[in-house]
């Protein structure tokens, strides 16, 4: 069943985590009878196990539903595009929004507007989307619709009374929202007779069918069998299958302007059909790509090492498989003196890092050791050479360094006003520059700061949450690099530099950080048979020192006839336990020690 272009409505839902996006989506699917009630389950659109567990959306979904308007009796074709809702995936969100003409802005009626919502709202406004604001969870006892409506009205310049009060859970008000979508969201433009163009707003890898590209057709018609070309990547392929989601994949003959669906070509590599790229026909195709494509670059890096060194090849296989589905994941082999063979991995952000790590452990049964996350730096050497450094241990000799530039972000923090002081203090401590502040309502404030990404990566979010009892929310966008006075802080155990513990830090922070880090390590490293000096150093200059005193007693007294086997087995077990420690020079270091730096915040 195809409908006229004028009766297509493409929209997305913008909401903060836990503000009820997935529940509302479930309700819409139910009320348009897209999904058999017997097959209904919670968070229908979040198919990945991790998404369900964490209540987040990582991959996009695009469901086609039909809605018969109660007002004009016509049947409308809706495409609901569910987007990831996290700062790490801002680019994916922007592409999904580019595939829509409208968005439901869903705000929890007790929580109010969060930084994430704000950021995505701005993205939607920038993309020219018609916004339909709704206050969700209106049925809950803690709901404060008046206050939150005022906030949303302030944000959008709307009349507070025009903001819909709904409950995704009970379905209250959802039918009105469906009518508003018909009424307010414009039908897609696009020329059916122009050379075909479609934007890829997400892609995933299926091991049997290859890459499944999620597309929104802008101009012309795509049909099964068409030879197509991805304009940025230059990839050419033939359409094997084309269709839409119900959410099940449903093949059709063609997709026409305004329609949202999928396309399968037999291409096996997601990097050849990247998010944001424009598809056209191979012959007589469009000459001009749709705007907005950019190559996503990893922002956060860490070393991942298999605990069992024999599993290095398995880990490579696992990363290859994950990369099939994740064009943003970067990895290259890394050898650490301390941790052995592993991979330096690059991610869009901390959540992306967590997700990849968890999937490697869970889906590929790997036990991993992760080094502390860092960012990518640009270094200019005195001889004019430029280099990218995304591993502190690759940092060149300070004497040869002319300039170091580090990535900066513009952070937007939404908070109840009583926490403004403590947040400003935190931001200053994190080398932040104040960039603006305004009241969203009488109670809630938006603070803007320019901050080094490296500080955010370390522990900023945890500290923000703990200082504000969880009430503040954070969003940030990269704004380029800035020259900074950075030094490499090394840690020496037993006199040897431990490469996996090196970090690049601002000169002014090196001393306190060095002190705290050596103290933390002293707590984490068990006593050994000899004293273990722990030192923090900048170059050859030792700035902090602690010692793990040697243990003095480790002997079982009795070893007679019946004890011998038991004692042998005990010692063998203890040896096995030691194997799980990393041997750094002569020092046995437990895994937790490598993440000691992540706890630095606790002690400050």
């Amino acid at each position: 069943m195809a409908v006229d272009q004028s009766r297509i409505r493409n929209f997305s839902i913008i909401a903060h985590i836990d503000h009820g996006k997935s529940t509302l989506a479930d309700r819409i699917l139910e009320m348009t009878q897209t999904v058999d009630p017997r097959q209904m389950r919670e968070q229908l659109l979040d198919s990945m196990e991790l998404e369900r567990e964490r209540g987040i959306t990582i991959k996009s979904q695009a469901v086609r539903v039909f809605y018969e308007s109660k007002v004009d009796g016509e049947t409308y074709q809706f495409h609901l595009i569910d987007t990831p809702g996290h700062v790490d995936f801002t680019y994916e969100v922007s592409r999904s929004l580019a595939a829509c003409e409208g968005a439901l802005l869903v705000v929890d009626a007790s929580q109010g507007v969060e930084a994430q919502t704000l950021a995505n709202t701005y993205l939607a406004v920038d993309a020219g989307l018609e916004l339909i604001p709704c206050l969700n969870k209106i049925d809950l006892p803690g709901a404060e619709p008046e206050r939150v409506a005022a906030e949303v009205a302030e944000l959008l310049g709307e009349d507070p009374d025009a903001i819909k009060r709904i409950s995704g859970k009970t379905g209250m008000g959802v039918d009105e929202v469906l009518e508003l979508l018909v009424e307010k969201v414009p039908p897609p433009g696009g020329d059916p007779d122009a050379p075909p163009r479609a934007v890829i707003f997400d892609s995933e890898f299926d091991q049997y069918r290859g890459v499944i590209a999620y597309i929104r057709v802008v101009d012309g018609t795509f049909a099964k069998g068409d030879a197509i070309r991805a304009m940025a990547a230059g990839t050419e392929a033939e359409i094997d299958d084309i269709g839409f989601f119900t959410p099940a994949m449903t093949p059709v003959e063609t997709l026409t302007p305004g329609e949202v669906g999928y396309l399968i070509t037999g291409v096996k590599d997601v990097t050849r059909l990247r998010v944001g790229d424009t598809l056209t026909l191979k012959r007589n195709g469009a000459t001009e790509a749709l705007p907005g494509y950019r190559e996503v670059r990893p922002m956060v890096f860490c070393g991942l090492f298999p605990l069992d060194t024999d599993r290095y090849p398995d880990m490579r296989d696992a990363l290859e498989k994950l990369s099939l589905n994740d064009a943003a994941l970067f990895w290259e082999p890394e050898t650490s003196d301390a941790l052995g063979f592993g991979f330096r991995c690059g991610f869009l952000g901390l959540l992306h890092m967590d997700i990849v790590r968890e999937r490697l452990e869970r889906e590929y049964d790997l036990d991993l050791m992760a080094t502390m996350p860092s960012v990518g730096f640009e270094v200019t050497l005195t001889d004019g050479t430029e280099m990218d450094v995304h591993n502190p241990s690759d940092f060149p000799d300070p004497a040869s360094v002319q300039e170091v530039r580090e990535p900066m972000v513009k952070a937007s923090i939404l908070t109840p006003k009583e926490y403004v002081g403590t947040i400003m203090e935190l931001c200053q401590d994190k080398r932040g520059e104040h960039a603006g502040m305004h009241y969203l309502s009488a109670e809630r404030v938006q603070l803007e700061y320019v901050l080094p990404l490296a500080e955010i990566v370390l522990d900023f979010f945890d500290q923000l949450k703990s200082r504000t009892k969880g009430y503040a929310s954070l969003d940030y966008e990269p704004i380029g690099l800035k020259a900074s006075d950075l030094v490499k802080l090394d840690v020496l155990l037993g006199g040897d530099v431990v490469d996996a513990l090196s970090m690049l830090v601002h000169k002014d922070k090196a001393y306190p950080l060095g002190r705290t880090l050596t103290e933390k390590l002293r707590e984490k490293i068990p006593r050994q048979q000899y004293d273990v000096p722990i030192q923090a150093a900048i170059g050859a200059h030792i700035i902090a020192r602690e010692t793990v005193k040697a243990f003095r007693k480790d002997v079982t007294a009795k070893c007679y006839g019946g004890d011998i086997s038991r004692k042998r087995k005990l010692l063998e077990r203890q040896k096995e336990g030691k194997k799980r420690m990393k041997q750094v020079g002569r020092v046995e270091v437990p895994q937790e020690a490598f993440l000691a730096v992540l706890e630095l915040g606790d002690s400050r």
Binding site: K553, D554, K558, C559, G561, S565, L571
Partner: protein
């Protein structure tokens, strides 16, 4: 031929001590021939079984050791009868060492005289401690002075070799308590002492009290101090270490039966739960005295389980046991990684290497388990 030791496990005590996880029973009446009165008879049945099993490998015993439990809870005549049974079936090597353990409160002049006259050569007395509150914590019933008196009685009965067992590191023990114990023990004039750090074994009453927080244990540094003090005090009194926890006045005064364990000799363990080792095979008897007695009454082996040691395990055990001896470990037993570890340990002051042997220093004796873990790489 490898020397043969015989161990007789007497699994009875007047009361169970809170720290003890040995196979021992306090009820005098156990069913099915498991009671104290029947013990000697049943033990002789196992000796019959041992003689048949060993066949042509049977040889005079180099050492005999009665342990427990509390062997001296049995009438001395019964210990003598068992020793006589060993002599009849296996014979004793000339100059064989025959030891019994004794609790201070469960021996007296008459028993000691009878044992000595019947061929026992050595008594090992469970003194444990000299501080009354520590004895109390350990559930030991004897008075502090009783151990010294027992040494004197053993000497009077003609025993040349008398050993005292001591325990340090009990909850509530102060450094002074331990110093008092060392003084008291040495004043009694034994020619052998063993000093054990208290180990809280899972499942004991002591472990439960520690878990509930009723009792606190000294830390590792305090334990190291205790052992170092003991080592110094014994050496000063002419009792030199020959194994990590054992000191003797002369090579003759060492416990040759225990040396057999540490040198991987053969031994047959008689009694419930006793362990045996013959040429790389280990087995252990059923633990309960009644089950043990029933097996033997039915003409069956009392063994509950067996373990055949492969070459790797035998090598591991030899390193583990021999490095604890003053005579040291033959470094030819070590793998190349083990040799590197030994050299490292020498630099750290835990080992001395000379003449192809590795000998623990005091620091090494305090950390012998860590040394073994490294040498067995």
């Amino acid at each position: 031929m490898t020397p043969l030791g015989l161990y007789v496990h007497v699994p009875f005590c007047a009361a169970r001590c809170g720290y003890c996880d040995f196979n021992t029973y306090t009820a005098a009446e156990l069913p099915g021939g498991g009671d104290q009165a029947a013990f000697a008879t049943v033990a002789l049945q196992e000796l019959d079984h041992a003689a048949v099993t060993l066949g042509a490998d049977a040889r005079p015993a180099a050492t005999v050791f009665f342990g427990g439990g509390t062997p001296t809870l049995l009438p001395p005549e019964e210990l003598v009868a068992i020793l006589e049974g060993i002599r009849q079936r296996f014979g004793l090597e000339p100059g064989a060492e025959v030891t019994t353990e004794a609790n201070p409160e469960s021996v007296g002049p008459r028993a000691l005289e009878l044992l000595r006259a019947s061929g026992f050569t050595r008594v090992s007395i469970g003194m444990q401690h000299a501080a009354p509150h520590v004895l109390d914590t350990l559930d030991r019933v004897h008075t502090p002075g009783r151990a010294g008196a027992a040494v004197a009685e053993a000497r009077a009965a003609g025993f040349e070799h008398v050993s005292l067992d001591l325990i340090y590191g009990a909850p509530g023990e102060s450094a002074d308590d331990w110093a008092l114990t060392l003084d008291t023990a040495l004043a009694a004039g034994p020619d052998h002492v063993s000093a054990y750090g208290l180990e809280v074994e899972p499942g004991t009453a002591l472990a439960a009290r520690v878990r509930r927080g009723e009792l606190g244990l000294p830390d590792g540094d305090a334990m190291a101090d205790r052992q170092a003090e003991a080592d110094a005090a014994f050496s000063a009194a002419g009792l030199h270490w020959y194994e990590v926890a054992n000191h003797a006045a002369s090579p003759r005064a060492r416990c040759h039966h225990n040396l057999g364990y540490w040198r991987s000799h053969d031994w047959w363990g008689v009694g419930p739960g006793a362990h045996s080792h013959l040429a790389g095979e280990r087995w252990w008897n059923v633990r309960h005295p009644s089950a043990y007695a029933r097996r033997l009454a039915a003409g069956r082996s009392p063994a509950a389980g067996r373990e055949l040691l492969d070459a790797t395990s035998r090598r591991f055990e030899r390193i583990m046991l021999e490095v604890r001896l003053a005579e040291g470990l033959d470094t030819a037993l070590l793998s190349p990684a083990g040799v590197r570890a030994a050299e490292r340990l020498e630099r750290d002051g835990a080992l001395e290497l000379s003449g192809g042997r590795a000998v623990l220093t005091l620091h090494g004796r305090l950390t012998a388990d860590a040394v073994v873990r490294q040498l067995t790489d």
